[in-house]
Symmetry: C2
Subunit: 478 residues, 2 copies
């Protein structure tokens, strides 16, 4: 007597990501009831065992856990393309655009980024932004999983405008208090919302952007509420310089001395971390968010993720922000992570396809404290999965013997555009690339409109004359 299921996925090249490898199952199947996976097996087994309201035939497709982006700044999708190929990109390219971003533009950016990421297979979005009205609602409406970090800093209104390079940031306790209050309110409203589909973290933007006592206060609040801390760590030479001037310590040592270096920390970037610091952070149990594409293009640097993992550390992948990286696509991050590390170590065996696939799925889930709920396709876990067409010309052929080509082809030939269908918490939120929860046409039109408005505001602001890319405009290179 067959059991009932809401959804039965059949005939997939199934990458469950169970165990230590990729957990491949040939002609694999999944049964989903409500939000959860209730069974995993072969198509023959599950066809016999279940009667389902909906059948998803995945013939010719890989089915894998939805991809996990642990560190994004979605609002910056609205200024995609304004800050590439520039030194000091933040000051010389992004700052004038950031200054003129308002809430409407931020919301349009978040929505654009959500659709872009969905169409590239990302089911869990680890967004990291100064909270604005309607921010969390974008994710709730899209039906994706979100791990939201409202950022916290104590920088005075107007930020760091007018500071000279090397000046100590002026920290404003009042601004810090307001920032903490807004972040905590957001976490209290949204942590566990949408039946657990939305979770939160607390996010001091950097140890250099908030005073020590307020930083420790945030850590206490996080501990009380069982939230992780999500912090840029050793993200650049400016941060290290600020820390040495203020505390006489580099960031990792400062974190350790203040009891913040532990498994409740998601440490982002580690661009400037020394080998010893990398080891220390990994061994503490802190997680690393690796943004290969972004740090590659902005700084020309390959962060120390390989070493971090060798020391037993857990690494998730992040797409960071479109004004630097230019795209928010975990397929892109998986591939670049593999290639960049082969180049860094001049060794083609470093970071094989299966390792970066783990970082984009189960290891990413563990990095944000959700390894028990998502990241692999196992009975009892949330049904977050993507269906990827591997019968398109750029992915073929897929053979099984003597070498299976599925995982290398997914990682090294995949672009993200092969993702057809997405299920989050048991619900089909994208089918045949059509996002069912948001109007793609409206989101595209609004994004284009808001970007044009920002462009006009920036063009009217004399500050735009400092843009490094104006010379490329004049030279006909853009």
């Amino acid at each position: 007597m067959p059991q009932n299921a809401d959804l039965l996925v059949l005939h997939a090249h199934l990458l469950t990501m169970r165990g230590d490898g990729v957990g491949y199952l040939r002609d694999g199947a999944l049964a989903v009831r409500g939000e959860c996976i209730v069974d995993v097996g072969t198509s023959a087994e599950l066809s016999a065992r279940y009667q389902a309201a909906e059948i998803l035939d995945a013939t010719g497709c890989a089915v894998l856990p939805g991809l996990i982006d642990v560190h994004m700044h979605t609002i910056y999708a609205i200024v995609r393309g304004v800050a590439q190929d520039v030194s000091n990109w933040m000051q010389k390219a992004l700052a004038p655009f950031a200054k003129h971003m308002d809430e409407d533009a931020a919301r349009a950016g978040t929505r654009l980024n959500i659709i872009e990421a969905m169409q590239a297979g990302t089911t869990t979005m680890g967004d990291y932004v100064r909270p604005y009205p309607g921010w969390a609602e974008c994710f709730a409406q899209a039906g994706v999983r979100a791990c939201l970090t409202p950022t916290i800093n104590a920088l005075p209104a107007g930020g760091m405008a007018g500071l000279k390079l090397g000046d100590l940031y002026p920290l404003d306790e009042e601004a810090g208090r307001a920032s903490i209050a807004a972040a905590v309110a957001l976490c209290d409203r949204w942590h566990g919302a949408e039946n657990g589909r939305i979770t939160t973290m607390l996010g001091p933007q950097g140890t250099d952007m908030i005073g020590k006592s307020q930083l420790l206060e945030v850590a206490c609040i996080a501990e009380d509420r069982g939230l992780m801390l999500h912090v840029h760590v050793a993200q650049g030479d400016r941060e290290i310089e600020q820390m040495i001037k203020r505390y006489g310590q580099r960031t990792p040592e400062f974190l350790a001395d203040n009891g913040l270096l532990n498994e409740r920390l998601l440490a982002v970037h580690l661009t400037e971390a020394s080998d010893e610091e990398t080891d220390r952070i990994a061994e503490s149990g802190a997680r690393m968010a690796l943004c290969s594409g972004s740090i590659g293009i902005i700084d020309g640097i390959v962060p120390p993720a390989h070493r971090f993992r060798e020391k037993g550390g857990i690494v998730g992948l992040g797409s960071d922000q479109a004004s630097g990286n230019n795209c928010n696509n975990i397929f892109n991050e998986m591939k670049l992570t593999a290639l960049f590390n082969k180049i860094r170590y001049r060794d083609p065996e470093i970071m094989p396809a299966w390792e970066v696939l783990r970082m984009g799925t189960i290891e990413g889930a563990r990095a944000i404290g959700l390894g028990h709920r998502i990241g692999s396709l196992e009975t009892g876990k949330q049904a977050d999965l993507i269906v990827v067409d591997v019968s398109v010309p750029n992915m073929l052929p897929i053979i099984d013997e003597p070498i299976r080509t599925l995982v290398p082809n997914l990682i090294y030939a995949g672009t993200g555009k092969e993702v057809r269908t997405m299920v989050v918490a048991g619900r089909v939120v994208m089918r045949d690339r059509e996002v069912l929860t948001l109007s793609e046409d409206q989101v595209r039109a609004e994004a284009q409109h808001q970007a044009e408005l920002i462009g006009e505001r920036v063009a009217r602001d004399p500050l735009h004359r400092d843009l490094a890319l104006l010379s490329a405009m004049r030279a006909g290179q853009l």
Copy 2:
């Protein structure tokens, strides 16, 4: 009184690639008559000036010259995914598959690769393979432009099987003679065929794989016929070792001493070229084929293209072969070239988007001696162009002021899958991603079938036990 045109492309973000930059024209238009571009201007101008049999409305799209892939091995598309993440990939991963490739498999690989490349915007394919029956016909039928190099070597039948690392390759003059004859026959048949859409070069596979007198003979034949030489140069430490053992010289010096280092040479890879050798090759006028993705994944190396260009050298991009690189996509090569070089030099300003776009278009055309016919959209040139949808979520927004985001978004956010329509020599060969000249379904089915046959042959051959990836198969990592 309007003039007649066969095709009018209107309302494009037009990247003509004229001049020294990207030659942008807002609301740009092109008129095509027969195989050629007859006019370039604004949509207003050309709409008034021409009456066209067909109008291609490119609203929301970029239109640019078709991309040029100067170095491919299309047959290896059939073994995509068998040789990634391996040291000594050729011996430890590819060789058993290459041994079992027959003509049917080769043809299936070429056809698969042609469709993959078309769907990623490549209009000119610089294929480099041991000629097999029907090879050139694949390109003729597809309607793409091809620059075919039948490879030449003097390796005995069975190739290098059984050789120990460090053994001097046994060169067989008889095999060399047959190889030269086959290559010359192919060039004589196909050079200038299809109204010039197909051209050829002569391709000694490496200076280590053919004796000096036969190499010089090939160079004479090339000069007589006005063909370029297309040669792997300093492609690996094995080549350099062979050259030193045989001639007491490294490859670049050997080429110079034998009068082969000049503007008629397309030098591929330069993986092992020293700074001085790179300068010498660039200054000689020889062209460089840069295969960023392939050399990155196979060797973990970034070839010296930046230095080569600084010395005035001309660089084209090549996707090499799918068994290493895993994909044949010039969008991929443009992006990786920019990112890898930023990392190599730890400088975000190195290799900006517009430079790699030039390498993928006009500079690539010059690299293969076709700069007068293709590579930019100008009156009198061949109408080879692609229409790329830049209104999809991963490409938006596109603004013009104060910074134009089109080129960075194309290069850093584009995947190739945004290419909608392709025109080669004035003929629409792909429309809305549907290849009109080949049956994609047949090509996909045949590729999958032939790959399975190769897999079975390899699995039956005891040689497969040496495959490095067997351990990954056993460990559940593939």
